[in-house]
Structures are given as structure tokens and as C-alpha cells.
Symmetry: C2
Subunit: 344 residues, 2 copies
DNA sequence: CTGTTAGCGCCTTCAG
DNA sequence: CTGAAGGCGCTAACAG
């Protein structure tokens, strides 16, 4: 007789097996579609299981098999189009392989990143995807993941010191191209706005900027390089100051979306016409960039693909139970959108 | 003698207890800071535990205590500023209470939503936060959560049929205000763009639109109401068609960010001047809206607070082990930003 | 093909 | 204050 009130007696292998006069093991095997169980019993078992809406207890299974079917994603923030899109790609890849996704935000805080990683060593995840916090200087907590047998894949903001797989974009080339784009458009004094830290991506982009300048016989000027801070209003103030101090600036290359937007705003405010007086190009995944008038030229990273690629690499390692990944680097290409005023 | 190679022998209560010549129970109690264990042993235990970087196995604990310290978040998409900000608030609240956050994207697909919810009944989460998919018409899968003893809190896109806590914004009022804003600005023919479905929020906003019209002696015209679809390019085509069919439209109220942006784009394309020919106001959490020239007026939802509030309510219920929440409705207020061209 | 047994790592009575 | 024992739900080895 069926028990249709699972809230009363729990629905688990035990209760199922009792009602079916089978052993727990057989029921378990039947549900996992093992070949060593007769088709007839499989049918019986499945029928009851679905009638009672049986759902296996994920944690019991995880404990037993030492596999959680879960990956962790540790990123600075999600209120940022790039990471939002990346998560999308990650979730997609994870779902396709039957994995769950735990999300953690560091808010670019080292302490927080450390405590998250420490927690995760408890076996809650089979693997980790990570974009390091800008405040992170010490990487011991990341190294220790190796001991805990948890593979990690870095994306976008990678950590060069750790030997593992990394997914990035062609940051150096993008920095170079962006700068050259401004030079071609006639800019003679180009500022570079980046985030103040040791992030690999910032360094690569900056090197691209420097090399593009020298290649075009423009002497790099440290005074034109601005390191942003966490607080956005402060950044606006810094940019305003820079533009007032150097009225000769006629081109701005922003390595971060927020700085590009802020620069745009400050130009408006200071009545510097875009693009007549100042041309701006910035890293951005903001769709609305194309709608600005004049539109903002952007370097757009394939965020979704980055997330997806990273997740796929991680999952492949997880399935093979390889704690340490080969130091493989996947580089995807960003796209430069040179947008012109529609002249309406 | 210390074993500093946890990769060799596993670090768990058993191994710790052996090295300390204590029982597993005592070690467990010491680590949970139980009052029934001497301070001296606590110190000894903690010392070894931290030396070996002991991290409790979350799944064993979950299995035993039937508590996962994890909540699930099921949303349509994350590549949308509103949801990104909401996740931020959710993660914050969860973290403060020591909870983990699993994320699932439905892509507005009913089947997917159902399968996710079904999975989650396996005890993987202690509670659920949800914004229902636009394709969802049947709510049996949500009801069944009650049987599984999993509390659920809806936010933004709520499901009226389920009796549980809900966190929303004042959608009716916002729709009313937005429409009145356009009327005050002199619009005589106001279109309403919304998403094609049974979403509660769409209905409320639409009712506000209708009531504002009648209150101002404008007869609602069904021809001016457009239901969007999933594909954005199709939406652009639909909007274009609408504006061509009804050249008398001089005001647009968009209930979704994407539609507002698309409307903006189509107006540009059709050379309808904003705001001289057509005024636009739309729901949006896009910062860049203020940068558009002319800027886009928006109704902005307190996304972060919505996520945070919803998570707090859920966590309170989870801690009390209440599967069914009181049908409590928290309504937060959106802000209308009436932006004017800077006239530069 | 099916059943029995023995844990995964942890927590929680119940006894000392 | 500490220890011994049982079991959360599931799976995997070993018997039949």
C-alpha cells in the first residue's frame, strides 16, 4: 500500500525498500540503473520512487563517495557585467555536467578571500573557479588547496604564482590596440586609468599601453597614469583632478569599466567635448556603451565564454580527480568596438 | 608527534583524537566550544586542529544534523543588473549568518525551473529564494517544497498562489508614477512595453499605467501595449513596428530594462528625437542610464536591499525550522529618477 | 540477480 | 569532565 504522505515517514532508501520487500542495496542499484538488477524490479522501484517523489539525499551520497558534485566560484563582485556574464557561462557548463555552483564574493578583500578558501577546504566543493581579489598579495591560502586535493582554475584575474590552469583574454594586445586606436585617431596625450594593485591583468594592459606609445614615438609619461581606488566617488575626483592638471589630455584609455564610465562623466561635467576634445576607450561589457551619445568605444571581453571555458577545464579535472592541473593557459580574444558618433 | 602532511593521513576527528589520546566525542565537543569540556583540553585540541588545518567535513555534519547551512537562489538570469545586485545582498546576508549560497539560473524556462526545484528537495538546501521564471504557469513544483520542509521566499517576481513570504517593490505605484510623469511632461499617447507573461510584477505595473491614464482623462488603448518576447532582436523589431504604426506615440513606459534600452535605440534609429518627439521612462538598475544623452529617466528598484531582506527573512525561518512562512509581504520602494538633458 | 555488512565523518544520547 | 555506542542516508565490497 502506498504511503502518499512523505512528510510523515521519510522517503529514503530504507522506507522504499521496506515497502517493496527488497533490500536497501537493491533499491539503490535499481535507481542508479545498475546493470546487475532485473528490469522488472527496476520498474517496480522506479514506480514507487516517483510516486513518493523520492529524491536522494545529496549529502549522504557526497559523504560516502567523497564527491560533492559542486564547484565553488570565488569572485570580487557580481554587480559588474563581466562577472555576471561569466557566472552565466559557468552555471551553464556546470549544469550540463550535473554540477552545482556555490558562489562567494570577496569584495576585493584579502581577509575575506582567505576565510572563504579556508572554509572550502572542508570538502564542500570538488573544485574552485577564481578571480583573485585585488587586495590579495599572499597566495599561501591558494597553494594549500593543492594539499586539500581541490583543483582550481583562475579566470581573468589570475595568480601567476600558482601553477594551475588559467583562462584569460589577450590583455597585452588589447592594451596595445586600444592605445593605438587613440593614436590613430590623432591623440597626442593619452592617459591610462587602471586599478591600483598588483593584478596581472592591469599590468599586461599597462604594458600594452606603454609599448604602443613608444612604437608610435610618444614618450610615456608617468603623470598620465592614474591608479584608481575602491571608492568610485574618489575615482571621479581623481579623474577630475587629472584632467584639470593636464588640460592637454586628448585621449583616455580606461582598463576598467567603472573608470571608463567615470571618465565619461567627468568629461561631460568639465565640458570637454567627446570626441572632439577627448577620446575615450575602455574595457567594458556594458551594452549601453553603444547607446551613449557619442557612443563609448570599448574593448569587450568574451565574459560568458571565459566562464564557460574555465568551468569546463575545471570539471574535466574534477572528473579525473586530478588535484593539480597542468599549467595550461587558455587565452580568449577581446573585441575592440570603435564606435563613432552617429552625428545626428 | 605532529603529522604535518594532511594529504597522507586524513585530518578528521578520528585522526585528531588519536594523536591527542582523547575520544572523538571530546575532540568534537572541544571544537564546538562545548561548556562540558575543560579549558585545558580545549586549548590542546584547538592547537593541533589549527596546526593541521583541520576543517570539518560539511557533508558529514549536514547528514547528521539534517541541516546544510546552505540556501538556494533560483533566478531567471544573472546578466541583468537587478539580479546581480540582488545576489550581492543575498550573499551578504547569508555570509553574516554563516550560510552558503547555491545559485541556479532558469533562463525563464519552466522545465528548467521545475527540475531545479525537484533536485533541491533532496535536502541540499535549507531554504530557497526565488524569482519565478516568466514561463511558469503551474506551481505544483513550488507547493511541493512545503512537503519537503523547505521554506521559500519569493522576491520581485513573486508567485501569488503560494502562501509564503514575499519581498517586492511598489510596482503598482511605480507604474502609476511613471505614467503620470510622462503625462505631466505633456505626453498624450503613451505606450507600455512589458514582458509577455503572467508575471505579477508586470500586471501590477500595467494596472498602475492604466489607472494613471484614466485618472488623467486619457483613454487606455490596447494597441499601445506591447508584450515583449525572449529574443531581444525580435523586441527591437516589434518596437520599430509599433512606432511606425503609431507615429503619434510621444511617450514610452518600459517595464523592463532591456525594453527601455531597445526603445531608446529604436528611437535613435528612426530619428525620433528624445525627449522632444518621444519621452521614455523605464525600469532599470543601469547606472549608465544617467550618462545617456539625453539621459534616460528610470524607475530604479532597491535591488541590493530586496535581496538582503529576502535572505534575512528566509534565514530567520530556517533557523526556526519553520517550513511554512507566514504570508508576509515586505514592500520596498523604488525611486523615480526624472532625468533631464543637460542641454549641452 | 539480490542480500548482508561495513563504513564515509560527524554529532548526540547515555554512562560513567 | 570524558568515553563508548549508535546512527544520519547512502554506496561498495563481498557473499550467496
Amino acid at each position: 500500500m502506498l504511503n502518499l504522505f512523505p512528510a510523515m515517514t521519510p522517503v529514503n532508501l530504507k522506507s522504499l525498500s521496506e515497502q517493496l520487500n527488497l533490500s536497501i542495496a537493491t533499491v539503490s542499484r535499481a535507481l542508479r540503473d545498475s546493470h546487475e538488477v532485473s528490469e522488472a524490479t527496476k520498474v517496480r522501484v522506479r514506480a514507487l520512487a516517483s510516486a513518493l517523489h523520492y529524491e536522494p539525499n545529496a549529502y549522504a551520497s557526497s559523504l560516502r563517495r567523497n564527491i560533492s558534485k559542486t564547484i565553488g566560484v570565488v569572485i570580487p563582485k557580481v554587480a559588474n557585467h563581466f562577472f555576471a556574464l561569466a557566472i552565466n557561462g559557468i552555471e551553464e557548463a556546470a549544469r550540463q555536467s550535473g554540477y552545482h555552483v556555490l558562489i562567494y564574493l570577496t569584495h576585493d578583500d584579502y581577509e575575506r578571500e582567505m576565510s572563504i578558501v579556508q572554509h572550502l577546504k572542508g570538502g564542500r566543493v570538488d573544485g574552485l573557479l577564481m578571480s583573485v581579489a585585488s587586495g590579495t598579495q599572499d597566495f599561501a591560502h591558494l597553494r594549500s588547496l593543492k594539499d586539500a586535493n581541490i583543483p582550481i582554475v583562475f579566470f581573468d584575474r589570475v595568480c601567476a604564482e600558482i601553477e594551475t590552469a588559467k583562462v584569460t583574454t589577450n590583455d597585452y594586445e588589447s592594451g596595445y590596440q586600444a592605445t593605438e586606436h587613440l593614436i590613430q585617431a590623432g591623440c597626442r596625450t593619452i592617459a591610462h586609468l587602471l586599478i591600483s594593485n598588483n593584478l596581472s591583468i592591469g599590468q599586461f594592459r599597462h604594458q600594452g599601453y606603454l609599448d604602443a606609445l613608444t612604437a608610435n614615438d610618444q614618450a610615456p609619461d608617468p603623470d598620465l597614469v592614474m591608479s584608481g581606488v575602491m571608492d568610485n566617488e574618489q575615482n571621479v575626483a581623481l579623474i577630475r583632478e587629472l584632467l584639470l592638471r593636464r588640460p592637454d589630455i586628448d585621449g583616455i584609455f580606461a582598463s576598467v569599466e567603472r573608470l571608463a564610465i567615470s571618465a565619461y562623466r567627468v568629461c561631460h561635467e568639465l565640458q570637454r567635448r567627446i570626441p572632439e576634445d577627448v577620446k575615450i576607450i575602455g574595457f567594458s561589457n556594458l551594452e549601453a556603451a553603444a547607446l551613449l551619445d557619442p557612443p563609448l568605444s570599448t574593448i569587450t571581453q568574451p565574459a560568458y565564454d571565459i566562464g564557460r571555458e574555465a568551468a569546463k577545464i575545471l570539471l574535466r579535472a574534477v572528473e579525473k580527480k586530478k588535484a593539480v592541473l597542468s599549467t595550461q593557459s587558455v587565452v580568449l580574444e577581446s573585441t575592440l568596438f570603435a564606435r563613432q558618433s552617429t552625428g545626428s
